[in-house]
């Protein structure tokens, strides 16, 4: 009963942590870089916003398969088979939720006033102080939105999960898959329980995030 819930939380937490690590430098580069490849990288990152999850899931499944070059390489080097495993699900989730984390961060970095960093440098602040007391507080809202969207989006994904992970209890059966299976087995009570839980949880997380950002703006008189 709770296994899909725990697995979903584990997947969403792990994916969000990896997403933040990958997205911070990527979003900074997209906001401040001047390379001609910036538009190509931006478009590639944003692809999951417009592609049906099944398209992404299908190609990832082919790539992760031990029959493919990449899948075989990963099996040979790391001894891990990505298709129909938690590890594969995690990588797919990171790719699928990437734009939901990169874009809020990119907007945050673009809005960051570079002169406040120069001002802090002129006030003899070291880089640790500048990051923790000048840059991060100005990006707090962007980080919160990125974290929330990354987490909530991973928690609610279905198409990619079904393609990559299938429906293996304890390994790849997350909440969305468990709801689908309950409906197929006509166990509506169980489907309701998972669905209402996911609905309430998602609403509370989004409400708290936006309420916090709006309170913060009001406090600063903006």
């Amino acid at each position: 009963m709770f296994e899909p819930v725990l697995l979903s939380l584990q997947l969403a937490t792990s994916a969000t942590i990896i997403l933040l690590i990958v997205s911070i430098p990527l979003a900074w580069w997209l906001a401040n870089g001047s390379s001609i490849f910036r538009s190509v990288v931006w478009a590639t990152t944003a692809l999951p916003l417009v592609l049906p999850p099944t398209v992404l899931g299908f190609y990832l499944l082919l790539a992760f398969s031990p029959a493919s070059g990449l899948g075989k390489l990963i099996v040979d080097w790391f001894g891990v088979q990505l298709a129909f495993s938690f590890a594969g699900l995690l990588i797919a989730s990171v790719i699928y939720s990437l734009p939901f984390v990169v874009q809020p961060l990119q907007i945050g970095f673009e809005r960051l006033d570079g002169r406040t960093i120069e001002a802090a440098l002129s006030l003899r602040a070291n880089w640790w102080v500048i990051i923790t007391r000048v840059i991060f507080p100005q990006l707090k809202g962007a980080f919160l939105v990125a974290f929330t969207l990354g987490f909530a989006h991973t928690l609610g994904e279905f198409g990619v999960v079904l393609m990559i992970g299938g429906n293996i209890p304890g390994e790849t059966q997350v909440i969305s898959i468990a709801i689908y299976e309950s409906v197929e087995m006509l166990d509506y009570a169980k489907a309701h329980l998972y669905s209402v839980g996911l609905l309430v949880f998602s609403f509370i997380v989004l409400f708290l995030t936006y309420a916090r950002n709006s309170f913060s703006l009001k406090r600063k008189g903006e």
Binding site: D113, T116, A119, A120, L121, L123, R124, R133, K220
Partner: protein
Amino acid sequence: MTGKLHMLDLNINHQYRGRAFNYELQLEKGVHGIVGPSGAGKTQLLRMLLGTVRPGVGRIVFNDRLWLDSRSHVHLPAQKRGVGMVFQDYALFPHLNVHDNVFFTPGPADYDRTSWLEKFKLAGLAHSFPSTLSGGEAQRVALARTLWSAPDLLLLDEPFAALDRSLRKILRSQVEDLVHEISIPTMIVSHDLDEIASLCDTVTVITEGKIAQTGSVKEVLNHPVNETVARFLTWENIYEGKEASRLFRLDGRFDRLKKYAISHYKLSLQKRENALILTGYVESLDRRNLLSHLLLNADGNKVHVHASVQAATGISVGDEICLYVEDSDIIELASI
């Protein structure tokens, strides 16, 4: 290198967005103005001094400390230079209130924070955020924050540009008092000549990424070295001639003509036959505002005169000067 050591010795060649900047400057302690048209590279120069822009080639020495030497790959980071900068739009930290902005750095241990806020008339605004402040208040916060860090060199980038005209006048006088009180070497970037004339001891004119002229305010405002500087200083009377005394008498052809300029402030209008000429001594001179206020003693009569800052730059207390006034400008008043 010459034997004399200057407070600031700077020699820089820098390329930025396809444009070349060449600066060579030696400055002594005092308040120094940097003027020039928009895009001339004034703010770039301040950023090189601050240490956030690293010039391609060059050397900067401040008070015997080497800040930059491209040959020996020395580039002292901004945090270690002790340069305080007040930015054009003040660059206050938007997420911190006035108190936390001002005291962002620990500051001098022996100075009371409440007194510091009171000194800048900020005590009542300590808990306000930057977005709620007026232009004048934001400027005071920026100055208080910068000076709290006890800089060795103060840079002010267009400090009054974001303010309306009436507020600019009041704040300029406050900044003037403050700059002289703290006695820190100061560089002020501005495109407003009145500001420079009232705040600075010396001035550098930058045009197209190059230093066109450096000298005392009086020297630069009264003797521009070339046509570019003269035109930037709003001198419009520029002529070609053989010699100054024969400026408009170009009888015949001359191979090599010189250029002459006359400041419009130095020209006065009067009909000789109907003008009263007064001679008197300057008793007092106040250069604080847009106009210089002079009080003259003409045969025991007090005469108040408002002259432009430029017109009064060569004049000091005790000088004997002449005044012209047209007869028609002497108004007869009815007896009460």
